[in-house]
């Protein structure tokens, strides 16, 4: 099968072609790049929805409930479920899928697990490319579930059109919700496991955060959900659709598309240049010498980094 046939099969909705192309893209092969460039002009239709929040907050279970609701609405839904790679072995347990496995056979659903590999900020470096592939393949909704995020893993906001922050009751006090980072990037806040005590307080903190924000064009929506019992999910998907129509009808969609394009290209440049730099630095004899000097206290880390950067530029 040549690459233009392969690309055409993806656009025609062939699952096997799509799945194999994702592997090519993940492995950063020339074939993957060519496929992506062939199909890119067919992107731009899908809703790109990000789900983020700490580990164990219920992201995968919530995504499952959202897929079910999308199925009821006859929306073809793709999921990119990202889990962390081991910094030691590079291995990974891709455990998000197990929460959604009962939806595997549904004709409208395609779930793909990804290890974060060298990716930073809660995503894998090829997430954005895989997202474009799903978009071109004709999915109405592409859901990206990040790695369990800390306070500043906010890269999802650069590639998703609508970002949902998943929170839990008893996750902290008012100060936590005032902090910068994760709490600033959401268009929708979902307090999951809201049958547990503390959900009203959690919602009140989030609402206070929203009401005090002065620099927002879109006023974030906050709601309570119980993903495991599929409660509040219709309201959540309605909120997503509301934000999507706001983006597409009330703002200048072209300006928004350009902003997203800028973010995508930037994030690719960031990971390309970081990986290239690492390659150069690790094969550089000056690096070892300077690092030895830092270890023995002769040179400070800032000076050392400047010496190495100066050496390679």
């Amino acid at each position: 099968m040549n690459i233009s046939e392969w690309s055409q099969n993806i656009l025609n909705g062939n699952k096997r072609s799509l799945s194999r192309a994702i592997t090519e893209i993940e492995s950063e092969t020339e074939t993957g790049k060519k496929i992506l460039s062939n199909i890119y002009s067919s992107t731009g239709r899908a809703q790109i929805i990000g789900f983020t929040g700490s580990a164990g907050v219920g992201k995968s279970t919530l995504v499952r409930a959202v897929i079910k609701e999308q199925i009821l609405r006859k929306k073809k839904t793709a999921v990119i479920a990202i889990d962390p790679s081991s910094p030691f072995s590079q291995g990974a347990i891709l455990g998000d899928r197990i929460r959604m496995q009962d939806l595997t056979n549904n004709e409208l659903v395609f779930i793909r697990s990804m290890a974060s590999r060298k990716g930073l900020g809660g995503l894998a470096s090829s997430s954005v490319n895989v997202m474009n592939l799903f978009d071109a393949a004709g999915f109405d909704v592409v859901i990206i579930e990040t790695v369990g995020a800390g306070q500043d893993e906010v890269d999802i906001a650069n590639i998703a059109q609508t970002t949902i922050i998943v929170a839990n009751p008893s996750a902290g006090d008012e100060i936590q919700s005032m902090k910068s980072g994760l709490m600033e990037i959401g268009q929708i806040f979902a307090v999951n496991k809201s049958d547990l005590p503390g959900s009203d307080a959690a919602l009140a903190y989030i609402n206070a955060l929203i009401s005090l924000a002065t620099n927002l064009e879109w006023t974030p929506i906050s709601l309570k959900v119980i993903a495991r019992r599929e409660q509040g999910i219709k309201e959540l998907v309605d909120a997503i659709d509301m934000h999507q129509s706001y983006l597409r009808e009330e703002t200048n969609w072209l300006i928004h598309r350009k902003e997203m394009a800028k973010n995508q290209v930037r994030s690719l440049i960031k990971s390309m240049s970081y990986n290239n730099l690492l390659k150069i630095i690790e094969n550089n004899e000056i690096t070892d010498k300077v690092i030895t000097e830092v270890a023995s206290g002769v040179t400070d880390p800032i000076t050392a980094a400047e010496i190495i950067m100066g050496e390679i530029s």
């Binding site: 699952k15 096997r16 799945s19 194999r20 994702i22 592997t23 993940e26 492995s27 092969t29 790679s85 081991s86 072995s89 590079q90 291995g91 990974a92 347990i93 891709l94 455990g95 899928r97 197990i98 496995q101 595997t104 056979n105 395609f110 779930i111 793909r112 697990s113 290890a115 590999r117």
Partner: protein, 134 residues
């Protein structure tokens, strides 16, 4: 067969038995050997396993079964995979759980290159997979 990427493994529990300690131990040790591992959870139908292998484009499928239904259910899984245009000569198949000695040859003939029963050393499973891809 050579791979220029991380080895992606599907560990699946077909049929109705719910004993998945073995499957989880294998999943964990393959992770520590640098592989990317997806575990389906228990009570999977042949269709679910084949569809997952399709969507995830895995290089390896490991089936764990303790119910005794392997001679019934394994051919169905292979058929479902082939129906989805997965070439089972390109995917490494292995299995574990309770496979009686007299069934091992039949299971191997179906296309399962490795059979790892109780007491298997996870290092042997890792070596078995790595040898296939080197």
């Amino acid at each position: 067969m050579k791979l220029n990427q991380a080895v992606k493994v599907l560990i699946a529990k077909p049929g109705l038995d719910g004993h998945d300690r073995g499957a989880k131990v294998v999943a964990r040790s393959l992770r520590d050997a640098g592989m990317e591992v997806i575990y389906t959870g228990i009570r999977q139908t042949p269709k679910m396993i084949a569809e997952t292998a399709l969507q995830e484009d895995v290089n390896v499928v490991g089936l764990s079964i303790l119910s005794g239904a392997h001679l019934e259910i394994f051919p169905k899984i292979i058929k479902e995979m082939e129906d989805r245009d997965i070439n089972i000569n390109e995917v490494l198949l292995f299995c574990g759980g309770i496979i009686p000695d007299e069934d091992v040859e039949r299971v191997k003939k179906m296309g399962f290159h490795g059979v790892f029963g109780p007491g298997s050393d996870t290092r042997d499973i890792i070596k078995f997979i790595n040898d296939f891809f080197s």
